[in-house]
Subunit: 323 residues, 4 copies
């Protein structure tokens, strides 16, 4: 449940306002050069602080506490910890009586009979994507020939992303966005029938990222509007290169050697400054809700590097399986 | 790889033109009334024969060969077999030298070094959705309080579905479509953080269905264009009922008791009668390809019952886990 | 539960007096030559008919119904079925009211609330070792450089095995035995810390064989009586060859290149002709029990080939993992 | 590989002389009262310091860093860390050129191409049983009605255990031992056919404990010498109570409600002070080896609480599965 992968297997743990968050990776090959500096770039990309993201300031320094010796992976489980430091849990108690709309407050309390750590959304927090990014850094080293790149391609359906975000901030509101990920130089033949297609594994991981509500590969939803004669990608050489790439690089669930391309839809963050109405479980009626604290106006801004991470994790597992 | 699920665990096997296709289900509870008649309705819905589907005629009679005794499941693995009878493998040899565009021919041969059973696409065939539907019938019995219903909501972006299909047939072409699935009366709290969200499990299974290229929950891709204040679903009573359902019944990866709603995009089938061009690996150049044989003009027509099946399978596993 | 293995993954299904027993193997490499004749030798070794084994006569003909094409494995799941033919279920109904001592009758009925197929012990029957042997045949092809050999080394603590069995038969009784398995030419480095040691995986599989009650590797239980200076195996060359082999070829859970050696204890079969006393659940008192039907006087005689099979299955999985 | 369990799933990580050792437990129920004090008793029982055990002094203070909130488990993964403090790695470099007989030095270096952390045997160290004991403490809370008790029943085949150990110490040698574990008040019906019998799961875990070389249930190896009429356990009441318990509480792989009884064989520790001969890989010849440092003369003394832990872990998983 909190682990994923067959060979390259990751286990995620920790809570937003607890002692730490972390990841334990089992099945990583021995002999990969790895130090704490390797994580800095991707961690920086995920960090808050940019306009439109939360003001919670965490240094996010990775501590490698197992599985690395003399600067190289040993083959034993690799554990990486991130201490939580900038924690203020004052504002969360109110959500026990008045759960935020479209947030995990209500379902988490129901599922865990009120024993869940509700502070900062606990184990449901977007902070858990930090260990995911760390696992992605290692996965990227395993699939080092593949170049993975994810970017926001629009926010709130607008071209001028900055302006859209400024308007949302000004209104005490939040904005959604779409992220596109492209992986180049992929070997032919990754993916395992029947259930572990490339799309299945990536989609599985993508929907573990909080706020993701859709995924499509290649032409995706627009493929539903096409004819076969339009959609089919003509093969043009003996390496399987195709003239078009409506398949997004995956046919029959297996990579065909063309670029892997997919897009994910990120909903606007549920925690907004603007006053809302929702059910108050103490008073047993709908009443006003005002959310204080530090939140992201556009959570999608922080997700591209997470999308790269899950892509690398899925591909690393496929590549180790293929070997 | 060919199995899925933690408690209710299904294993799919067989090839399109081999002896049979089948499923072995481990972890199903004892004491469920089950006979071969229980499968007929869903199998009929999946069958070809309708306008726009292949003319391959299979009787699709299920044989329950283990796990059922005196009309009830025993708790031991349930195995169900479907013999392949209407098989004509004449037309498939050509695809070894000239693989069909956007079909598994090329990747399957590459992945399995030419040892794959290429007849009727072998283990990559849509025929493997038949045992999936059979597993779904049993899963529906486990989640019997939940009502799952999937339908085509458009074909080729047109309202008049029949006309769109007729035009595609007339042109020797194929059409894609979009299927919407709604599951009502879902308990609160299904789904397991961090990796086994309801969306993750359903998406994982959905992308194992051949031709699926996208999935979205609730508002899905349109959520990316919304503000938080628009997207948030106000809770209106103590059972967690919401005024709107942009979340599609899943928040934080967990069911919130509202209807589970998702849509999947089905691409147009790759095998079309219309002449195409693609690479010929023998002559080492692009040349004409004419595909003969029996194929679906709109494969999406046969998929709603498969989507119901995978939804039931995912939910059955969550429900058994919750117990 | 009914499946085992990480890469080479086997699923066992069927009941003793049902339609069939079978196995579905996922993760087997493509390109292995495989036909029904390959199974005959090992199946013959497992067969009954020898003095001291049951008179139930089954032809045990394997039907390969998926995963093999043109005489080679394809990489898709391999399914092998064995029909049950010589079935007489008359004598089993009495065990519902008076379960046999040390037999699964009582626990199976309790565990499955009476829904279990009790005929011939259903899914608990030794007949389920037939598909295990079939999986072993394929596993042996994967580990073809390793020579695995299992033999009975004593029956009822006697040297003259035949005489011991004759006496047991004459008394309407049964006898236990010890089987030793030696695997030669094993590569160094098989086994996966922390939980998947070679001993762990083999022991796990060994205890799935009905009637097995103990396992020991190398010096085994006698190691408990030794000093370190006696037990330690001195390494004598750069390939890791040791002067003695008290370790049984496994150190730290990992193969060290010396012969893998282990022994298993097989209890005497529970079904004996001799009259016994045990609790009658209908009359609620202890009363006489007389068991009719066909049973093995020395089930251990049929188990060496099963022990070879589980050894090959465990090693095949390790070897595929190592690649 | 470093994880075990289907519902109650444990992940072990860390190295003997690294930063820490730890465990992450996924699938533990919410609402169990848990604090660091709960671990002290079992940790103390595992500790060294007694006569016959190593002088390495670790305080072994558990740090619960996730999954517990306000003194109760939350349902999210529980992570427990133990810092390594009393570390002296001076004496281990020599084992790279002259691996200790019957120790993991040789196989670990081979398996991981020399990248393994060899200090204190790294991830192969008996220190990894510390997080196992911690997981056992939590498992015992889940199976709280079951009383599990393990004891040494002999050391070096002698009754006077103290004297045997004193002699071994005086000789610079080590001694093996046998541990018996009894679990009382077990529900009927734990264990999952075909592969996950109670014996299979316990044996799997038992062989992950360093130095274990054999396991037997109930009459075990002596069952091989018995007749069925002697070995069969007559049922004497409607709760399944038996007059004898040769089965050790497990029939058909399933608990029958009688005491679960098994014994494990522990070999004498490989690291002894007494001079030995073994192969020197630098000089390419057999030469003298003298091992310095802190080692256990009778490692079996520290293992009973570990055996209880693995028993509780196996049973907890079965009990959660049964629910």
């Amino acid at each position: 449940m909190n682990s994923f992968g067959r060979i390259f297997r990751i286990n995620i743990f920790g809570e937003s306002h607890g002692t730490l968050v972390g990841v334990c990776i089992d099945g990583c090959c021995r002999g990969i050069e790895l130090g704490e500096n390797d994580f800095l770039c991707d961690i920086q990309r995920r960090k808050s602080g940019k306009r439109g993201t939360t003001l919670r300031a965490e240094d996010d320094i990775p501590e490698i506490v197992s599985g690395v010796f003399n600067g190289f992976t040993t083959g034993a489980p690799i554990t990486i910890l991130f201490k939580n430091k900038n924690v203020n849990s004052d504002n969360y108690l109110q959500f026990k009586t008045q759960p935020r709309p479209s947030h995990s407050d209500f379902v988490a309390a129901k599922k865990f009979d009120g024993f869940n750590d509700y502070r900062g959304s606990g184990h449901f927090s977007g902070r858990l994507t930090l260990p995911l990014v760390a696992a992605g850094v290692i996965a990227k080293k395993i699939v080092s020939d593949i170049k993975i790149n994810a970017n926001i391609i629009n926010v709130g359906n607008e071209n001028d992303i900055n302006e859209t975000i400024e308007k949302a901030i000004a209104d005490g509101d939040s904005a959604g966005g779409i992220i596109e990920c492209v992986a180049k130089n992929i070997p032919i033949g990754l993916g395992e029938p029947f259930f572990d297609s490339v799309e299945s594994q990536i989609a599985h991981l993508a929907f573990s990222i909080p706020a993701v509500k859709g995924i499509e590969f290649g032409a995706g939803f627009s493929a539903a509007n096409m004819r076969g004669s339009q959609h089919n990608d003509m093969i043009i050489n003996e390496y399987g290169k195709t003239a078009t790439n409506n398949a997004g690089g995956v046919v029959g669930g297996i990579t065909n050697g063309n670029d892997l391309i997919f897009r994910i839809a990120v909903k606007p963050a549920a925690s907004i400054a603007k006053q809302q109405k929702t059910f108050n479980f103490e008073h047993k009626k709908i009443s006003d809700l005002k959310i204080f604290g530090k939140h992201d106006a556009c959570i999608a801004l922080r997700i591209p590097v997470v999308v790269e991470a899950i892509t690398a994790i899925a591909l690393a597992d496929f590549i180790l399986l293929k070997k």
